[in-house]
C-alpha cells in the first residue's frame, strides 16, 4: 500500500520540487498551501506523513503541529517540519510540540527523502 504524504507550504516553488520528489519516491502526494487547508486535508485523507512548513499565512506550522498532536485519532501521523529558521530554540520548540523530524532549509533532497523514509520506518528498501 502506498503511503500518503501531505505537503504543506505556501511557496509554490518548493512545493513543485517536493511534490515531484515524493511522487518519484512512490508516495501518494497531496498539497496544502496554508495551515487551515492543511488541517482540512488531514481530516479528509489521513496522511501517513505531513511535510510541514513553519512560516505560513493563517496558521503557522507550530499551530498545525500542535492541533495534530492534540487529536488522538491522528496520533499515527508523522510530522516532518521544514523551516527557514535555523535557530536551536525553534528546533527544540518543534520537537517539543511533537514533530518527528526537523529539516532546515536549504536541505539536500537526498537527506530529506532519507529522513522521510526513516520516519515512516521504510528504511532504504524502496
Amino acid at each position: 500500500m502506498s503511503r500518503t504524504i501531505l505537503i504543506v507550504d505556501d511557496e509554490p516553488n518548493i512545493v513543485i520540487s517536493l511534490e515531484f520528489l515524493m511522487k518519484r519516491e512512490g508516495f501518494a502526494v497531496s498539497v496544502a498551501v496554508d495551515g487551515e487547508e492543511a488541517l482540512r486535508k488531514i481530516a479528509e485523507i489521513q496522511p501517513d506523513l505531513v511535510l510541514l512548513d513553519i512560516m505560513m499565512p493563517k496558521k503557522s506550522g507550530f499551530e498545525v503541529c500542535q492541533e495534530i498532536r492534540a487529536n488522538p485519532a491522528w496520533a499515527s501521523i508523522k510530522i516532518v517540519m521544514l523551516t527557514a529558521k535555523g535557530r536551536d530554540t525553534e528546533v527544540q520548540k518543534g520537537m517539543a510540540l511533537g514533530a518527528d523530524a526537523y529539516v532546515t532549509k536549504p536541505f539536500s533532497t537526498k537527506d530529506l527523502v532519507a529522513k522521510v523514509r526513516s520516519v515512516l520506518g521504510l528504511d532504504n528498501t524502496a
Binding site: I16, F20, L21, P106, T109, K110
Partner: protein, 732 residues
Amino acid sequence: MNARVRYLIALVVLGLLITGPFLLTVALLLAEISQAEGQALGDLLLPRLPIGVMMTVLGFAIGVALLRGLFNQYVQGLLRMAELMRLMLGANRNFRVALEGPPEVQLLGKAINELAQQRDDLLSDVESQIRRANTSLEEEKNRLAALMSELTQSVVVCNLDGRILLYNNRARMQFRAFSQDAGGATGSGALLGLGRSIFSVFDRNLIAHALESLQTRLATADSQPSTHFVTATFAGQLIRVQVAPVLSATTGDGDQDAGDESSPRSIGGYVLMLDNITRAVESETKRDELLQNLTEGSRAALANIRAAVETLLEYPDIEPGQRVRFLRIIGDEVLIMGQRLDKTLESHADAMKARWPLEEMLGADLIAAAQRRIEGKFGLAVKIDELDADLWIKVDSFSLLQAISYLAGRLQEAFDIRLLRFRLVLAGRLAHLDMVWTGAAISTETLHGWESEPMNLSGENSPLTLRDIMDRHGGELWFKRESATQVAYFRLLIPAAARQDAVEPATLWRGESRPEYYDFDLFKRRDQDHALDDRRLTDLTYTVFDTETTGLQPSQGDEIIQFGAVRIVNGRMLRGESFEQLVDPRRKMSAESISIHGIRQKMVDGQPVIGKILPQFHRFCEDTVLVAHNASFDMRFLQLKEEATGIHFTQPVLDTLLLSAVIHPNQQSHKLELIAERLGIPIVGRHTALGDAIVTGEVYLRMIPLLNDMGIHTLGEALAAAQKTYYARVQY
C-alpha cells in the same frame, strides 16, 4: 558688696583709727588714776582740748582725702576698666582701654590691650581663613557645576530620600523630553528640579534595589561600587541608568542614622548617570532584523533552488515540460534573492556600516581643528569657504584629522600650493567635506598611491592608509577638477549625524549669573526629621505661583488663562525651574481683563485646556508649600476645578498679602507693588503670571527674616499668624 558701702565702712574705720587710740588711752588712764590726779589731768587737758580736736579732725580729713584718692584710682578706676573691657568683649571689638591712673593700673590696662590685640588678630585670622575656605569651596562647587553642565552624559545626584540636589543640562533636556513624551504640552521641565523627588521619574523599587546592591558591594569592599539598571519611560524610551554611591565624608554626623555608625563607609546619596539607549537598541534591532532577513529569507530561496537543481540532477529522465518548470524556479528564485539583497542594503545602509565607534561632533569643530593643525604643521594658509554651522558629523575625529592633514601635506609637497580652502555642507545623510585648491590636476595613479600607502608624512605616522580611514567611516574620497577655473578639490564623503538637541542658553541662565543646578545643602536634609508644620521657613521648598484670569468672579464662570510659577529651594529662587503656561479658557475674554494682563483671545485659542494643564501644574507643585499673593483668590479658581479634574491641591498655602499684614499691621495697603516697594524690590515684568510669581517670591524671601524677628520661625507659626490678621477674614 557695693563699692560705695565698702567706701563708707572704710571711712568709719579710718575715723575709729584716728580717734580710737586717744579715747582708749584716756579711758584707761581715768580708770587707773585717783580722783585728785584725774582732776589735775582734767584741768591740764580740758583747756587744750580744742587743739587736740582740731588736730584729730585735720588728721581725719587728710586720711579721708587719701582714702578717697586711693578709692577713685584703684576701685573706681578698675571698675571703669572692667566696663570698658566688657565693651571690648562684645559691642565694640576695636575699643581699647585708655591708659590712666596709677602705674600699676596703667600696666594692667596695657596688658589688657595687648591681650585684646592678640584676640583680634586671632579672630580676624580665623575669619579670613573661613572666608578663604568658603570661597574655595564655592569655587569648587561652581567648577563642579560647570563641569557637570559640559558633560554629554546626563547626571543627577540625589540624597537618600531621592531628593535631587544636582543635575546637569543634559539631564534637564533629557527629562524634558520624557515629560513631553508623556503628553506634556510644553517644556515646563516639571520632572526635574532641585529638591524634587527622583521617584516621579523612576520607580522607587528600582532605586531601592540598586542601593541595596550598592550596599552589598560596599560591604564586600568593592573599590568601585556601582550598579546599573535599564528602565522604560512612559513613552517607551529605554534608559540605561548607572548608579554610583556618594559616600559620607565623615562618620561624625551623629544626629543622623546613628545605627550605621559601625560601617566605615555609609552611603549619603547617589549619582545617577543616564543614557538614552533607545536609539542604540533600535539600531541593534535593525541589525538583527537585517541579519534575519538575509539568513532566513535566503534560506527559503536557497532551499527552493537546491531542491530544483538536485531534482534535475537526480532525475535526468524528467520530461521536458517538468524540466522547464524546474529551471524557471531556479531563475525566479535567483532573481528574488538579488532583489532582496538590493532592498536590504538600501534600507539598512546605516546598520551595514562599520561598527567602529564613531562619535558625533560639530562639523565646525572638526574644520577648526584641521585648520589649526595644517597651519601649525605645514605653515599652509587655510581658509573656510563654506560651512554649515549646524552640521553634526559622525566621525572618528582623531583618524579623520590625521587623514585631512596628511592630504594637505601631500598636496603642499607635490604641488607647492599656498592656500587650502575648506567647504563642509550637508548632502542628505552624508556630509561633503571638500579640500579645495587652485592648480594642476592629480593623476589617478598619484591619488591611488596616496590612498593606499600608510600615512607617513612629517610626523604623521600611522599604519593606516587613507582608504582605511574612509572605509572606517563608511565614506568615500575622490578628486575633481574644473579645467576652466583650475579649481581642484578632494571630496571626502563622511556620515552626518542626526541633529543634536540644541542648548537653549536663554532658559539656562535666565538672567542669573550662576547655574542653579545644584544645592548640596539638601544632602543634610532628611524628610522624616519634622512634620511640615514644625519645619523652619528657611528649610522648606516652595512653589510661588500666580494666575491670570478672564475676570474676578470664579463662581460666575471666570477661568484661568495663564499659570506662572517658580520654585524656592533652601532660600534660593530657582528661576531656571519655572512653569509658564497659557490656558485656553474656552470662553470670551472681557476687554477690561485684556487691558490688565495683555493676553488676547488669539493667544489662548488653541492652547491646552485647564484639564490638561492642571495635572502638570500639580506635579510641578508636588511636595512643596504654595505661596501666592492674595492666595485665596487663586486657590478658589483651583478648588472650583477639583471636581472636574480630580486634582486636589492639599499642600499648605502661604499668602504674602496676609504675611505683609502680619509684619506691617499699620500699613494701609498690601498690594504687591507697594509691598515690593517697601521691601526694596525692583519690579520687572509685572502682570504676566510668571513675572508676578517672581516678584511674589522675592517678596516672600525678604519677609522670612522679618517674620523671624517677630518670633515666627516655623511654617505652623506663619500659618497661624496669617490666620489671625484682619485680611484673613475677607473671603472670596
